[in-house]
Subunit: 417 residues, 2 copies
């Protein structure tokens, strides 16, 4: 009875029938189960999967077994705000397309996706669309005529260990792997009743205050967007400025080691995330920032929790500029206005140095060549491939391109201003 | 740090290295992940899987995708106490055996399995053994040289939503399906840290009192085993009387509808389970009772929780005989000693009647034929195939066999006493 009541409450929040919704053990599990089941259900159509380039890793990981089994995957690119173009989904649809996936909003930069338009394009071609609504379900239902939907309770402030998978009636779905009689044969194992009940109750609770709280958080994130850009030199605030989640704001700071900045902010009492290559355990820059073509170094993601105090936001804005400046000073980064001598071509050897050192060294010498002159940065850090072009765009310098070097890669930059 | 500490505590309780243990979202998920990964890791050896006939459904369900993919499964039978013979595992091992599975103790009847002996037999053949330790891990580590082990936190009194999977170093293991960087790439998705910490803490807590509490519960279940047999006529207490879990006791009552009995006991404040065909949603008798060849009708499973009060056990023993008698009276079951008239061959038409009616009708007329005479019971209830032979064994009558009838099946019973 508790499970039934939780299912009804969650279905009401999603805008679906209770018998279309199952509970899984996490959002990731919901995505894995949903994609695998939908692909198997459409096996006769083919093995082509469409995803956006900025999906959550659980979606991208789901593509791997498909490719290993001979399927193909098309990644839809995003613009500099992180948004897909619905027409690109239309162009990618093929006769053998089994499934398309699109997040409702991006988890790193907050950009909202045109889900309803993409759903319409997919519906017209008879291809189901799975929407990863992990970031947005607490704020409201997902618009449009989607076929499958996934979400994660801890993202809306509920407990860990509960995900949602919705499969609309009429969508062909064949669960993969061992199943049992639970959750319509789609999620095996003893149901985590206390957590499921808490998940449904918390969803109802956050929804009751969503409209009001969204307005308040939106004002706070807008304040952060504007004030960070004003108070911190050489910063890029990323993500769509308008069509975005209420509580997420992301920016990248030139000449900053993201991990050091995170630690310094943590010391000040602020727990932030980063998609910077410097902070991830794999030293790979965030695939989201990479797909957007924005700067990844010194990346900081703020997620304002529901109910966050305005004072805390204000204190963050007071602390940030000094913290960034201190990190830059330690790294010997150039001051924003520092430009110097005259020369012609210049080689900067940054081999063996990690992000953000190569960009710092480029910035230090760009003024050493005349306008029209070249700087050749040698680097063996993968992040340079992303950050040197981004720096050029921010600094209005021309990124010429890369070429293999004896060691690492040479990145060519022409001074144009 | 919390996750590391929980992993160390759990590993210590299991008797393994922390890096051999991962947390999953349920015991079922641990079994599914463990079996799929071990089978894939031994793909070159072959696709033969050995399981006991009384494994938990999560193990049996795991065999289904293997069979669908062309693999083969051998089920090891059990004796009337529910125990496997280690030699039977030895006989079942083949050159293409990829994996063998055996529970540490049975979840329905409490019988402990000879895990260490079976592990030795498997080890000698170079085949890994996966032990489903869900029922016993709270009571102590699993003895023997097993290769993989699974467990479920809520079974030892911990929270729902946490399972354990242990894969010994050196065991070939290839995780199946999409994975991420979490839990050594073996369990994807955001870790449920609060539940995992609670699981490890509760395991340590129950272990601290396990030896003492096991003695106490063993005395209580022994009391139930003896008193039920004495106070309730026509009852069969099932499971190994000695090598068994401390807190589980199971018995079957002739001429009783298990579901009705459950409801009556629930009304008295006792929440019990049943493996009877009459109570399951599918009307299929428990595969465990079927494999043991014991009576399935009127089946009741008592699981004494840690810390159960002795008074509650006493009250249950006071309430049970009257409750069973009332249920029997409603069904018009024969009184234990009721035997009657004289005839030669007799056909009992029980078509369209559900368990336990066919057995009740058999019992009512067995006295109507002379010693040596036959009763032919016509039934279309699947449970009759299990319960009529079991009744014969309990009543020392001869079960002759079954034959197809115009409708349903005819079961032949010879009166021998």
């Amino acid at each position: 009875m508790l499970l039934d009541a939780a299912r009804e409450a969650a279905a009401e929040a999603v805008g679906c029938r209770p018998d279309e919704l199952i509970f899984t053990s996490s959002g990731t599990r919901a995505v894995h189960t949903g994609i695998a089941g939908a692909l198997a259900g459409r096996r006769r159509a083919g093995r082509h999967l469409i995803v956006s380039a900025v999906e959550h890793s659980s979606v991208l990981h789901s593509a791997e077994p498909l490719e290993a089994a001979g399927g193909t995957v098309t990644q839809i690119p995003v613009d500099r705000t992180g948004r897909v173009d619905p027409a690109a989904y239309g162009d990618a649809l093929r006769a053998d397309t089994a499934l398309a996936c699109l997040q409702s909003a991006n988890h790193e930069v907050g950009t909202e996706q045109p889900v309803a338009e993409v759903a319409e394009v997919c519906r017209a071609a008879g291809v189901p669309l799975l929407v990863d609504a992990a970031q947005s379900l607490g704020w409201g239902p997902v618009e449009g005529d989607w076929s499958l939907l996934t979400a994660s309770a801890h993202k809306w402030g509920g407990p860990a260990g509960v995900g949602l998978l919705v499969v609309r009636k009429g969508v062909r779905f064949v669960p993969q792997g061992p199943v049992d009689e639970r959750e319509s044969g789609r999620a095996a194992g003893f149901e985590n009743i206390p957590a499921i009940v808490a998940a449904a109750a918390s969803l109802r609770a956050v929804r009751a205050e969503a409209a009001e709280e969204a307005l308040r958080l939106r004002e706070l994130t807008e304040r952060i967007r504007v004030r960070v850009q004003r108070a911190v030199p050489d910063v890029e605030v990323v993500g769509d400025p308008v069509r975005r989640l209420p509580g997420v704001v992301t920016f990248s700071c030139l000449y900053v080691d993201g991990e050091v900045l995170l630690h310094e902010l943590d010391r000040e009492g602020f727990s932030v995330s980063s998609g910077s290559s410097c902070t991830s355990s794999t030293l790979t820059p965030s695939h989201v920032l990479r797909a957007m073509g924005v700067l990844s170094e010194g990346n900081v993601r703020l997620s304002l929790p529901v109910g966050v105090a305005e004072e805390d936001v204000e204190r963050f804005l007071e602390v940030l500029p000094g913290t960034v400046a201190a990190v830059r000073e330690k790294l010997g980064a150039p001051v924003a206005s520092e430009v110097a001598r005259e020369e012609d071509v210049l080689v900067v050897d940054s081999l063996g140095k990690r992000c953000p050192i190569p960009v710092i060294e480029l910035a230090k010498v760009i003024g050493d060549v005349p306008v029209g002159g070249l700087v050749r940065v040698l680097s063996d850090d993968e992040a340079a491939r992303l950050d040197i072009p981004a720096w050029c765009e921010m600094r209005s310098q021309e990124y010429v391109g890369e070429e293999p070097a004896d060691e690492g890669t040479a990145y060519l930059v022409r001074r144009v201003s």
